[in-house]
Amino acid sequence: MKAEKENPKQLTEEQENLQKIADKEYKYGFVTDIEMEEFPQGLNDDIIRMISAKKDEPDFMTEWRLKALHHWRKQKEPRWTKLKYPDVPFDDLYYYAAPKKKDAPKSLDEVDPELLATFEKLGVPLEERELLAGVAVDAVIDSVSVATTFKDKLSELGIIFCPISEAIHDHPDLIKKYLGTVVPYTDNFYATLNSAVFSDGSFVYIPPGVRCPMELSSYFRINASKTGQFERTLIIADKGSYVSYLEGCTAPMRDENQLHAAVVELVALEGAEIKYSTVQNWYAGSKEGLGGIYNFVTKRGLCAGKDSKISWTQVETGSAITWKYPSCILKGENSVGEFYSVALTNNYQQADTGTKMIHLGKNSRSLIVSKGISAGKSSNAYRGLVKVSKNAENSRNFSQCDSLLIGDQCGAHTYPYMEIENPSAHIEHEATTSKVSEDQIFYLNQRGISSEDAVGMIVSGYAKEVFQQLPMEFAVEAQALMSVSLEGSVG
């Protein structure tokens, strides 16, 4: 559970805004809060220089951002997905905004009761609620001291775990060596935009042979202030090291910025293993499909060395639009890539998500387990690519893509792509589509379980293979999240 991007005062305002918008014609689809310290709207060289200067970045960073901006100017927004949404008014957006602290609620009494009810349902510990709700009290100080303790322990092992803005200052060599090596600034429209304007994010470096003794979570990141809409994360696992990183939060996360374009880069050197788990629960918009976060994320891991391994686990329940394909480039011999995903859409949510497994090294192996769950009027697409290049002798892939439908107004789509250039490859693909049946719900009803809980249980059962990949605590929360996210999906 991490605490950032929360500001309930603004949240209620946002809700009011949403209500206002609901009452009139929905013009731009974008809500911008005005209680912010902002740079001027739009995007140009000056804005980039201002962002870079504000962060006191070295010149190489400023140059990199500018190169990205110039490249982005030449790009077109990709429209090849199954997603339908109005044009994003990029020139009207604010690309740097620091939230004002003065309006933070002083206690939970000032927090939106609906948000508190959700915390209750999710079983968020009391001491974390204030933090999540953005209450400006001791809880925050406590968390900083907890974080400091962890940080001391980590630095004893030589592990670097800090905001990426700090790493740019303190470890410029590592940044120069690795930033943009997995997701270059030219990669795609959103990644390019992110490279130009990224606000903050996490940086992790695990030295050779070190096994990180705890799950790293952005929750414990010092100065975990709002990283905003353009988050950038870079994780490097040096030879023979291991790290497990948790991103996100099961509590509903609201943000005044509607467009999110994050980039995550992972680098696993020889014999290293990175496990990256995400629970994404951004605001999904109203039941009528108004508002909600547009989440365009580029996540990619490079298994650079022999015997390296990268494993992505994601539970996606939030956002109005999810566009996300955590991928692995399996360059090292015997390297392993894994992708476990649960993507749940309800109401008018749309998700186009999946993975790419690029086999370059000999004997590289990949596993894809994707579980899509669609309810309401939502649309859920799995899009995956398995590519085996000429030199990837004896590569293996197994893909399992399942879709579960709740009700009869939602859609599930599967787009598996395969490009196999080596005849020794072993590729298997299995796909199923099933429905939550009335018989199953009745069976559970007849044992005293309410329909809502029944659907939650059925869905959790269906997604179990993926939940098992999550760290224990996270898995329990993620299951509760399923039920909460499906509220109202059965009559």
């Binding site: 009335e438 009745f442 069976y443 044992r447 005293g448 809980d453 249980m457 059962g461």
Partner: protein, 248 residues
């Protein structure tokens, strides 16, 4: 405990139950027999609250409540249990945690404390002996990959754990070999008490060799055409249903 008066039920305009009357008191076992299509399973479904049935007339009172007005989960929490003719598979949902959730919903409804994992395991282990079930079935997903007999035993195990006041067994004997039948019936016999009641729906008399009913009713075309003691079952076994139907 259960009082059904002149119950009329239809499915998509077709009448299935046509003026059914039944009185069940605590401590009793009632057997409902009848040929295929006589409305036996409909009766079980309507009593337990399954969707898709229209009640056109009559009433059903359970422990003084208007049964037909209660949501299915509330009926269950009030102590009504249906052993399914075709138990449903729920992939990925662990059999033990499912049953724990069910029991705790019922306990919560009664205002009792929820059982924790340790107490629950102790209870379930004890009750498993009743149905001679293998322990690994507890670790598997609900009914998934169970044989026909294992599914039926799992129903009886659930009944033993949930300890209902009124249990309806819908053709629990169908598809069971003689050993499984004996175990299932043994479970029922050990659970019966002066405080609970059973309605045993069956096509064959065979189950009644093991579960001795106090009352036997013959259902035909949606109503009970004959009631009697256990000897009625033997008579049916010998003479079939036809002699009754002719006189009906």
């Amino acid at each position: 405990m259960l009082s059904i008066k002149d119950l009329q039920v239809s499915v998509e305009g077709k009448t299935i139950l046509n003026g059914l009357n039944l009185e069940v008191k605590a401590g009793e076992i009632h057997a409902i027999m009848g040929p295929n299509g006589s409305g036996k399973s409909t009766l079980a479904h309507v009593l337990s609250g399954k969707d898709g049935y229209d009640v056109d007339g009559g009433s059903a009172t359970y422990k003084g409540m208007d049964l037909l007005d209660l949501a299915p989960e509330v009926r269950a929490r009030e102590g009504m249990f249906l052993a399914f003719q075709y138990p449903i598979e729920i992939p990925g949902v662990n059999n033990t945690s499912f049953l724990k959730k069910a029991l705790n919903e019922i306990r919560k409804h009664r205002g009792e404390d929820e059982l924790d994992a340790i107490d629950f395991l102790a209870l379930i282990k004890k009750q498993m002996e009743l149905v001679e079930m293998k322990e690994d079935l507890l670790k598997r997903p609900v009914n998934q990959g169970f044989s026909g007999g294992e599914k039926k035993r799992n129903e009886i195990l659930q009944m033993a754990v949930l300890n209902p006041e009124l249990a309806i067994l819908d053709e629990t004997d169908s598809g069971l070999d003689i050993d499984a039948l004996r175990i299932v019936a043994g479970g029922v016999n050990k659970l019966r008490s002066k405080d609970n009641a059973f309605v045993v729906i069956t096509h064959y008399q065979r189950l009644l060799d093991y579960i001795i009913p106090d009352h036997v009713h013959v259902l035909s075309e949606g109503k009970i055409i004959k009631s009697g003691g256990k000897e009625l079952a033997f008579e049916l076994e010998e003479r079939g249903y036809d002699w009754l139907l002719e006189h009906a």
